[in-house]
Amino acid sequence: MSERTSRIGAAFDKARADGRALLVGCMPAGYPTVEGSIAAMKAMISAGVDVIEVEIPYSDPMMDGPVIQRASEIALAGGVRTRDTVRIIEAVAATGAPVVTMTYWNPVERYGVDAFARDLAAAGGTGLVTPDLIPEEAGEWLAASDAHGLDRTFLVAPSSTDERLAMTAAHCRGFVYATAIMGVTGARAQTSQAAPTLVSRLREVTDLPVGVGLGVGTGAQAATVAGYADAVIVGSALIRCLLDAPDEAAGLAALRALSAELAEGVRHPDR
């Protein structure tokens, strides 16, 4: 936790006041194309997604399951660059919706950590979710995010010790990302049994909002997770709408429909 104001904090405050969770929808930058990904993200927002998580495609996404792997491969094969991601973030942030960025660490390190933070802040991004960066290795990012006023979200997992939960949350600003299961991204038939326990363990050590991701794909699952989390994070199920569609229009229609279903779910938390 830091004295600095979180860029995404107001959105959480408002959702809390409304008695619901935020819906965070994830899409790889440049999938299926740069313009196509901007269109997809805007469609998600218009259908009720509160926060867009833009994932920077990476050649070796070791936390991601088959859906995000495939979408990332398509984006990279299409030639998307890190600077395109910054442009996408700018275009989506212009809608007024908060835009967080998820990225493996190497693309940021290669861009230059401070330069990336500067450009991300200028584009209107709220901060970074870093799936393969733990606070112990994050010295440069802690400094750059402070310097440019960005949020930082590290992940916690069911296997995290209490000490690590406290330490990790203490280095977050904005929200903490709780991975619901031990595994990689991808929608699953059942919601996690481990997630509610992990979230209540987190509540013991932090007042920050908690987002829960990994495995959520339906409105009913979103409602379940919204019952104990401050944000429900959905990736693979949304991306699959585009991957499985025969054409772009059908993909966007499916994406809007699922976004609306999930948005309904987070507005009716199972409590």
Partner: protein
């Protein structure tokens, strides 16, 4: 090279507690794996301090793997090199390479941690076969991830693994080669970490893997140093090895890092030549980055996307390198140079013809590099140098590749 100056920079204990070798190494992993990595680091430290564990490991290496491997003076090859060449015959170990040392050590650790399942990544299949071997010996379930391109190229090794009772999973994502097999093994590990040990094949990956793999293979250098003293009455002028991920090189370097008069040379896969861009020389031709959980030298583009590596040697065909090598390069303690496919194959042929030893193509890179540095060392020392070469593996697995390269296979 200023070996004397370099020595003063080498602290007693490396890596540090968090796995850093200078600015390299560390842990760039999902938080979900941290608990398992901590457990492994603790088990590794406790095992290394435990005499019973050390005795059991030493007994397995002696009675099962067939070590200490010979240090053989290759006189006819030496005459061609213009140096006194001593070959560390890791090719004679059970399973045909230095890798058996690492898998036996990690299999013992797996049992010590109470885990029943091991997973591994493999490129050409050598580490997969070695892991399947240890899993059979220790009665562990074994799953090996292998890029689909490699399962097709190396069908015999796939069959070997299956004979030994392992499940081989072809990986169809990304470039369908070693790096993608490593990603898939990591994904399996995140999902099954409670009962599974990831038996990584080289001195790379997140802490504590680089240190623990080094500790399990460092017997190569300990043996070679004592054998060289016995045989020649002194230390060698240079020690050479090939470097892919770099476990065989670290294994032989480590006993000599405190001997400043011993030059250390690592030879990377220069593929079709550094200027073609088609190579696997991460130190010579790459840049600092993060790959597979560690900060090291990586072949990458301007955006930090990993680039595909190229080498005639599947075992060196990896776009990263162990972080301790990155650090040995940075401090100047070891020197890294590329060796092309053509240079390696010429040395391969030379060893076959002069010594009646068919080396692994990986090890042929060390032989070629030795040929290249010998004249320079002779000039520097004013006499022919004594060079210990790590002959890390045997060439049986490479007969098809080499046969095609030399055009000596009968047409069907």
């Amino acid at each position: 090279m200023s070996a004397d100056a370099a020595k003063t920079e080498v602290p007693a204990q490396f890596p540090d507690a968090a796995g850093h070798f200078g600015t390299f190494g560390g842990r760039f992993v999902p938080e979900a794996l941290v608990a398992a990595l901590d457990e492994l680091a603790n088990a590794h430290q406790a095992a290394m301090a435990d005499e019973v564990f050390r005795d059991e490991f030493a007994g397995l290496l002696r009675d099962y793997a067939g070590t200490p491997s010979l240090l053989y003076e290759a006189r006819r090859f030496s005459a061609q090199v213009g140096a006194r060449v001593l070959l560390k015959r890791e090719d004679l170990n059970h399973t045909g390479a230095h890798k058996v040392r690492n898998v036996l050590g990690q299999a013992l650790l797996t049992r010590r941690m109470g885990k029943r399942r091991v997973i591994a990544e493999t490129g050409a299949g050598q580490h997969g076969v070695a892991t399947a071997t240890a899993a059979a010996l220790f009665d562990l379930e074994c799953v090996v991830y292998m890029g689909q391109v490699d399962t097709e190229r190396q069908a015999l090794n796939v069959a070997r693994m299956r004979m030994l009772g392992a499940t081989v999973v072809p990986v169809t994502t990304g470039s369908r080669t070693l790096k993608d097999a490593m990603n898939e093994a990591m994904r399996d590990w995140v999902a099954n970490v409670d009962e599974t040990h990831y038996l990584i094949g080289t001195a790379a990956g997140p802490h504590p893997f680089p240190a623990l793999v080094r500790d399990f293979v460092r017997g190569i250098g300990d043996e070679a140093r004592a054998q060289c003293l016995d045989l020649t009455g002194g230390l060698p002028d240079a020690v050479t090895a090939c470097v892919g991920g770099g476990s065989n090189a670290l294994g032989i370097f480590h006993a000599f890092t405190d001997d400043p008069q011993v030059r250390l040379y690592g030879f990377e896969a220069g593929g079709e030549g550094m200027d073609t861009g088609r190579h696997a020389a991460s130190i010579t031709g790459g840049s600092t980055g993060v790959l597979h959980g560690t900060r090291t030298f990586v072949l990458q583009d301007a955006d930090g996307q990993t680039q595909e590596s190229h080498s005639i040697s599947a075992g060196l065909d990896y776009p990263g390198v162990g972080p301790e090598h990155a650090w040995l390069h940075d401090t100047g303690r070891a020197t890294y140079q590329p060796v092309t496919d053509a240079e390696a194959m010429a040395a391969f042929e030379l060893l076959c013809r002069t010594e009646g030893i068919i080396p692994a193509i990986e090890s042929a890179h060390a032989l070629a590099g030795t040929l290249a540095i010998a004249p320079k060392l002779t000039a520097e020392l004013g006499r022919p140098p004594t060079i210990v070469v790590n002959l890390s593996g045997r060439g049986d697995k490479d007969v098809h590749t080499a046969g095609e390269y030399f055009g000596i296979l009968d047409k069907e």
